[in-house]
Amino acid sequence: MRMPAVVNIVRTASLAAVLGVALLGNAQATEIDADQQLKGPEAFEHIEDETERSRAMFKEAGKVIQHPRCVNCHPVSDTPRQGMDMRPHEPPVVRGPDNHGAPGMVCSTCHQPENVDSAGNGVPGNPNWHLAPRSMAWYGKSLAEICTQIKDQDRNGGMDMDELIHHMAEDSLVGWGWNPGGDRTPVPGTQEKFGELFAAWAHSGAHCPAE
């Protein structure tokens, strides 16, 4: 007699979990980022002190770097996050040995080479969908901490400043942030403008904000 009740509870819970995901996706649609603008380097030319100008540009770049669209896949733990509310990823996936998921449940089990919008809010996609390595964890960190981390070749994948600029301006998975598909809020500006801003920061001494 007990089993049907258990089955019903589990069935209801599973349905609620699936519906919950769909509903959250819709709620996200109404959440519009108030500041979709990203200033280019020209907006900072009036700051005469180079260090201050550099810091100001990194703070502007922080609108992109600290956006949930980017931070969600730079987790401190082994689990990505999703949505503007940065909730834990559903299903509960883990990074696995190469940041592309666990054996039997890799990122590409669900994520296609491009965004798929056919079902609900769809599934975001990119040919190289994966998590940033642990050393590049950004979640919960201040912009100053992230800035120092980005410049640290022991933690940034061994990239020098030219490679970092290329990564920010050209990498297609970084670029996904501006083309997230579905009802997802994109990161501010364009990848081109972000690349220019990041390059200008790098060429002005790559100074980090104080906090």
Binding site: A22, P91, V93, V94, A102, P103, G104, T109, G120, V123
Partner: protein
Amino acid sequence: MKITVNGSSHEIDAPDDMPLLWAIRDRLKLTGTKYGCGVAQCGACTVMVDGQPKRSCVTPLKFAAGHDITTIEGMDGAEFEAIQTAWRAIDVPQCGFCQSGQVMTATALLKEKPAPSDTDIDNALAGNICRCATYVRIRQAVRDAADTLEA
């Protein structure tokens, strides 16, 4: 679009963004692969694409064309047979709806990790929901299958 399923080539007259699952179930009548949630949250629609598990409900046909697709009906090999035997031995399924997806994922896991830990099993099968909550038997059967392969 031309897709290869279980070794046979099929011409499917459909938009290239149609989910692979629709082609498998509705056009090819291979109904072992199940439609569960339709949004890659439950795992019932799992098939193999070039030997890797894929949720066919969110795989557009254009990304399946040119690849080897295997459904539950076309599975074979030592890992699959070990899984099948272990599943039968302890009667893993209850209603059975999710089980083809569970078996696909479990087989993919054993192909990559012949001696998985409980954590490996949980991580691999985290995306395969079972509304009858047969999780304890699923995990046991994967362990049993791994033991068989090792022996």
